[in-house]
Structures are given as C-alpha cells and as structure tokens.
Symmetry: C2
Subunit: 339 residues, 2 copies
C-alpha cells in the first residue's frame, strides 16, 4: 500500500469528492462570513486530496489528506471543532478503506489523536488490528509518531455553547426540537486515483451531548465507510445508528454489484428512500414497539459522498444542506445548499 512514485501516475482520470456534514446549516442562520469560511475550507480539503491524486498517489492517501484538512478546521464536526459528549469532552471516530484488497483501519472513542483519520490510515496498512477503541487508539497512534494533543484542543467556543444548549433542552424536555447542527455532523472523502483504485475515509466527533462511549457509523466499515474497486467508494453523514442498521456503505456496493444499479440509483435509494422509511426511523406507528428512535423527522437526516470506478460522483442528501464538493481535471465544485 506504499504510495506510488509521483512521476509515474496511471492512466485513469482521477476524481475526489468530499462532504462536511449534512443538515447542519439552516440557510437563514449561516452568516456570509461563516458561509465563505466553510467554502474556503472545503476548497482546501479538495485541493489537498487532489494534489495527491495528481502526483499519481493512492486514493487512500488522497482521502486521508482531504479528511485531515477538515479535521483541522473548526468549521467541521471532526478533530478541532468536534462535538462534545454529554460529559463535556471529546470522543472521536474515524475510518478508512481502500477498494483493491479491502484493507481498512478505524478508531473509535479516541481522545488525544489530533487527526484520527491518520491513525485509521496507519491501521489500514496491515488491517490487523483493524479497529482500536478508546485510549488504546491514542496510545497506538502516539507510539507510531502521530501527533497527540490535550482533549481540550478539539473544543471551540461554538461547540461548548452547543453543548450548553443541548443540556438545557434536555432539562426542558425540548430535545427533539434541537437544530440539526447541534445533533450531528461528519466529514468524509472518496477518491478514484490514476491507477483506477478507490478509497473512502470518514471522521467525526459524533453529536453534541452524545452519551459517553457512544459510537456511530463513522468507524464501522460497511456502514459509514466502504470501498471496493469493482463498484464504488462511499462515506456517509447522518444518523449513525440508522446507517449501521442498513449497512449503508456495503448496501450501496451490493446494489451496484448484484443488482446492476448505477451509483446514482444506489445512493439515491439509500438517502431518499431507505433513510426516509418511517418504520426504520421510528416515525411510523409500527406494531413492533415503536418509538425509541425519537419522534422527529430530523432523525432521518442523511447524506453521503460517493464515487464509482468510472469516476461518476454522487452527493445526495435529504436535509436542508450539506457541505460538499468534488474536483477533477474538468471541474472544482463547492456547495452548501442548492449552490
């Protein structure tokens, strides 16, 4: 899995696509300054990942670099700027997967890795262990030279305010009405490299006031992250528990491989049909116990970025907006809402 030499790129036209979370940004509440800062950050992530691809580098390294840029940026809910759990500290999840051999790495509940995605990338080198949790993930990364920081490094004033708001809502019993931006958010990237290989990476702080120890879909290979050179690479953002229950990433792959679905068909079906299913999201009054998943349509908020082996890109979401973008030799696209 060594990065190929920059001077000998392959013949495939590379492409990279990213997301920075969906539903997190009611248009009316996004100031011009915040809007511009977010777009600039998305562009930096695209450029960093694409530079790897242009140099003939591996898709897995391109998605790692793109996600690391978003982890370092306080705009996004990953790394610096991550959401706080209900005890007031950060637990970070990340994963990567490459599509040739299916090598993968992941960390869950990390507390001190500045860039969780880099630990996931390092674990993917052998994929054994593949997933490390808690402080063991921090220790593993530090022993291999990855940068570790105090947990407070990840905090920003706006995330602390969001936690205060969520805990106040809990006291008042109005939790379901909390805005999406306080609930979740994730960053991710997918890429097709010049050698025709695919990869995906995802990173998150979870959601504001999440239970201590709660892990969503982000570090779950097959749910929040999947890559297979035969089909596609996928990174998801939304209600992680639902993504796990539908094996989001592997389901997109399976529909393409076994049903012959296109990338657009497979991803639209997941985001606009499966994740809107009232039985799954707990909105419907099924005869099997109902409830438990909250009574708000917001729980089905979902989006993803995906690229197939031909370089087609999909960026579907079912919320008001999704930080997103993609880049190829033909185009650089960045958007938050319709544009």
């Amino acid at each position: 899995m060594t990065t190929p030499a920059p001077v000998r790129p392959g013949s495939t036209t590379p492409v990279l696509a990213i997301h920075g979370g969906c539903g997190a940004i009611p248009k009316a509440e996004l100031t011009p300054g915040a809007d511009l800062a977010a777009r600039a950050a998305l562009r930096r992530a695209l450029d960093a990942g694409y530079a790897v691809l242009q140099a003939g580098g591996a898709a897995i390294d391109a998605v790692t670099e793109a996600v690391a840029i978003m982890e370092d940026d306080p705009v996004f809910n990953a790394g610096h700027g991550a959401a706080l759990n209900r005890a007031g500290f950060h637990e970070l999840d990340a994963s990567v997967m490459e599509g040739t051999l299916g090598r993968a790495g992941a960390v869950a509940g990390a507390r001190r890795l500045r860039n969780p995605v880099r630990a996931a990338r390092a674990l993917a080198e052998t994929s054994d262990p593949l997933l490390l949790i808690g402080e063991a993930a921090d220790d593993w990364g530090r022993a291999r030279g990855l940068v570790t920081v105090d947990n407070a490094y990840f905090s920003t004033p706006s995330r602390r305010e969001a936690l205060d708001r969520m805990l106040e809502r809990e006291r008042q019993g109005t939790l379901q009405a909390a805005p999406e931006r306080d609930k979740h958010g994730t960053v991710g990237a997918v890429a097709l490299d010049t050698h025709g290989h695919l990869a995906a990476a995802t990173s998150t702080g979870g959601y504001t006031a999440k239970p201590v120890g709660r892990v969503g879909d982000t570090p779950i290979i097959g749910a929040g992250t999947w890559a297979d050179d035969r089909t596609c690479a996928v990174s998801g953002t939304g209600k992680g528990e639902l993504f796990i229950r539908r094996a989001l990433g592997h389901e997109v792959h399976a529909r393409m491989l076994y049903q012959g679905a296109s990338l657009a068909q497979a991803t639209d079906a997941m985001v606009h049909v499966e994740m809107m299913d009232p039985e799954l999201t707990g909105l419907g009054g099924s005869g099997l116990g109902g409830s438990g998943l909250g009574g708000s349509g917001l729980v089905s908020g979902a989006g993803l970025c995906a690229v197939d082996h031909s370089g087609n890109v999909a960026l579907p979401y079912n919320t008001e907006g999704m930080y997103r973008g993609w880049i190829s030799s033909q185009c650089v696209y960045v958007a938050i809402h319709e544009t």
Copy 2:
C-alpha cells in the same frame, strides 16, 4: 420488541442454531471429558434458546438466552472463560440484531458485564445508542440492572495458561505457529421464531494476547452479526478483521436478496471461497505491499451459523472443527468435528 405472550405462538416452525467457535479444537487434543462437557454445554444453550421459541417468544430473546448460556460456560471464549488480552485482562464484545426492523445493539471492550449479550439486547430495544464501548458499556448496563462482576471473574486457569504460552511464543518469534484455540473463538446463535422473525447474536473475548483496545467483527453489525427477515440471520466466528473487510453478515444477506443465492450457496461462498482467498488473507504475494496479515493459512479460519426465513440451517466452517448445533421440533444436532 416486547416478547409475545407464551400462550399465543405464531404458525412458523421455529429453529435455532449455534456455534461455539471454530478451529479451536484439534481433535487429538480434546480429552473425552472436555468433549462431553462441550457437547453438554452446547445442548444447554440450544435448550435455553429453544424454550423461548417454543413459548412463542421472539427470536431476539432466544438468541440472547442461548448466547448467555455459552457466556456463562468456561468452555467457550466469551464471558466466563473469555480470552485474555496481552495486558492480562478481558475486553468483551457482543452484538444482537433482529430482522424485522433491523434493530440492533452492541458493546465493545466491556470489562465488567457478566453477560455482554444482555447489554447488547437491552441496547437493541431502542437502538439509540446502538453501540457503546469500554467502561461506558459497563456503566450503562449496570445502571439498567444488568449484573456486573470483577474483570477476574472471566478468567479461567486454561485461559491464563494460553496467555502465558502466547507471550512466550512472541518472545521466541513463533507466534504464527500458535494453535488456533489460542488465537480466537466466538459464540453465536441465530433463530427463526414462530412469528417468522429472524435474529442473530454473537459474543467473544477476542483472541488470546490481542492488543489492548482491539475490536474484531463480533460487535460490528454487518460483519459478525446480521439479521433481515427477508433473507437470513448470520453469526460468524473466525478472523474478525477479515470478516469486517468482507462485511460477512451483510454480504450473505445481499447475495440472497440480490443474487437469489440460497443460504447454503451464500454461506459456503463466504467460508470456503472468500475466506480462503490468498489476496485477502495475505498468503498471496500481491503487488500491493503484501504481508501484514500473517504468513499462516490459519488466519483464514472461518465459520458461521445461519438460518434463513424458511428455516434452513447452515453451519459451514473451514477449520478442523467447530462447536455447533441446531434444534427444531424434528431434531437436536450437536457436533464438534465431523460429528
């Protein structure tokens, strides 16, 4: 997800199948006493789970009871009798999933839950959170009345001896030659209830001398555990990292749903073809960096128990033996090697 009243079972003929780990038992090393103890334990697990089904209970409760029996039995690598990590303590993983709404629960790296599968079952009730890790899983379970114990409760003399052997092998550089029984082992159950619903549950202590914080496929919904009423319920045992990279459980489901494969075809393909793939298992000299997955054929040891919506059972394994059994109104089957 409340268990239906015992007096009103449905009309489907129920069936339950279990495994207690594969490859863990070289025939020549299994004493008659150990052989009989293992068969008796398997029978107890089958009976406990089947009693739930006979009473009209839910598949998810049947698999939970069957797995809990095996967790309590020192014969198996789960709960009491679990493998020790390289630091000399136990980190336990478990998950459950039901096939009607896809509700699921899981714990990873638990240290004090006497029956990790019961915490997974309790989490499945709302599936939100779905996965809890580390001491947070213990705390969550204890707060809900589940039995917690000192970590030393899980230790047995034979597991301590196994750890000593493994650490000695590491010092001598003969780790790859370690017997399978020191490397992994998992327990699992799948069931079809009288209402036509499917469920799966899996629990493990991982493998002897595993890195602290390492998590395998057992608590990963889509890898070690999957259930969908349209197709099947699956619980896996083997090299967890490979199961994650192939999304074992969800792959079996997808082949049945989208390819029209039978349960036997889908499960045989995973155990006898996919898990023997030299590129995946690192046995082949691929051009992509090779190694990292060990140089022994033993790393591809794999098995599973599965049941489909028609009540067909599959118990494939590619190792010398697998603790296994299944039970229906027609038959009670228990085996370790060929028989």
